[in-house]
Amino acid sequence: MTRNAALAAVLVGLALVAPQAASADTTITLAGSTALLPLVKDAAGLYQTAHPDVKIAVSGGGSGTGINQVAAKAIDVGNSDILAPAHPELIDHRVAVIGFAVIANPSVGVKGLTKAQLQDVFTGKVTNWKEVGGADQKITVVNRPRSSGTRAVFTKTLMGGKSAAETGLTEDATGTVVDVVGKTPGAVSYAALSGIRGKGLAEIAIDGILPTDENIHMGKYPMWSYEHMFTNGPPSADVSRFIAFVTSNSALIKKDGYLLIRDMKVTETDR
């Protein structure tokens, strides 16, 4: 009886180990920005079809997580919406440009805000949409966690460095933000364009300017950022090939709602 049990345990153990031991495939692991996630996922799917010997594991976690994990060499590539000045050992590979939008539940009845109004909404100075020309509806701010790259870009480009009030909700991925804003009357948040198109949310114009590709290219709409893939030191040949595959796939970048770096008429420092 006990011998059989021991045998069974050994067999189960072997069954778990065997598939990993047998395959000599390369695995590339990526984690980080949930704003960049859709592009990396789609690219990984295409790449794996073309190269069956390469396995690509992609997960989210936020830009801060991506930077931390690649710095700790836990993953091959850390995806991020923001730079990593605290980690000089990381090598930056810019893959695309991403636009972000201020999004709201359609119930708020507001199509646009001035930058000052927007800051009042997010700092909690204004608590009802009617105070900024909308419906009589309580404002619910939905934040991203502190380590979020999207939040960092938002704070820098639209909030003038002021931090958003912590009185609303905090959701830890672009996908959940979109879901919660869509379901909660009076909710407002910010999210990558790649994650929000076609979800029936109101995109709020800032100082009369909507986050269209054209406006972002020309630098009229300020909330955009380069998407970075960080490697810890020079990437291996496999990782390097995958990053080049993502960066050069213009059609996929555009289809997933990102912008091409070469189309930008301004740089980040112009903001």
């Binding site: 976690g61 936020g62 830009s63 801060g64 997580t65 931390n68 994990q69 700790a72 605290a86 309580k138 619910t140 934040n143 966690p145 502190r146 380590s147 979020s148 912590e166 009185t167 609303g168 909700l169 905090t170 959701e171 830890d172 379901k183 909660t184 009357p185 909710a187």
Partner: protein
Amino acid sequence: MIATRAKRAHAQERIATSVLRIAAGFVVFAMALLLLYLAGEGLKLFVIDRFPVWEFLFSPVYEPDTHPGAAVFIVGSLSVTLFAICFGGPFGIAVGVFLSELAPPRMAQILKPAIDVMVGIPSVVYGWIGLQLLVPFIRNTTNSPGFGLLAAGIVLSIMILPTVITLSEDAFRSLSPTLKEGSLALGATRWQTILRVLLPSASSGLTVALILGIARAIGETLAVQLVIGNATQLPRGLLNPTATMPTEIVQDLGGATQGSMLEHALFSMAFLLLLIAMSLILIVRFALRKRA
């Protein structure tokens, strides 16, 4: 022949004993390691960053890089736990009484496996259901975001039920049958017997049930994180989004740079949770000893 068999049995005995001893020793070793590690990391905030313990425990100002006061999360943890035990506690004890004293055998046969299944359901499933059904329900009936203390409290009340039910049922079953028989023989009704005789007699066992329910509630992470709203603010009402220590740890641990004040503060919260869990267990042991 007999001698060799006895010798072999003896050898088997010795091997088995030492294997079991190693296993038991490993548990102690793992526990000690965990405690030491958490204490070492958790005290860095006070020793290296020189952040006052007082401020950590009582200041609601949470600036992760300069002033990580954890009062919001401590109050959040205590509030959801209090809510859960106020609702889940009496309800669980009631079901425990019902199961041990009143339920017809066939009904108990259905109820007990159902309760076992409740224990086995992963917490993320409770949270997910809370997010899909409870949050929209609260949102629509109260005109609030729906996320908050109330949603988290309700989910937790349900999650601690199996613990409280099972342990309180045990508490009633472990009472001597003479208590019940004597009370009934004196002419007390079944209800009087339960209320005046069985409940007071089982009180130490019921205390254990409630405390382990509290321990379950205060540490719950994922289910709470999904429905509480994760806002760094003191709860001013049941409908307010807030956060607890476990939810804050899981929310910010990925983004906390190694060696940063934020990371140290998260470790301090984990250490505090461990201390709370340990004191709860100490209270349980004390209550059990009193009963014996």
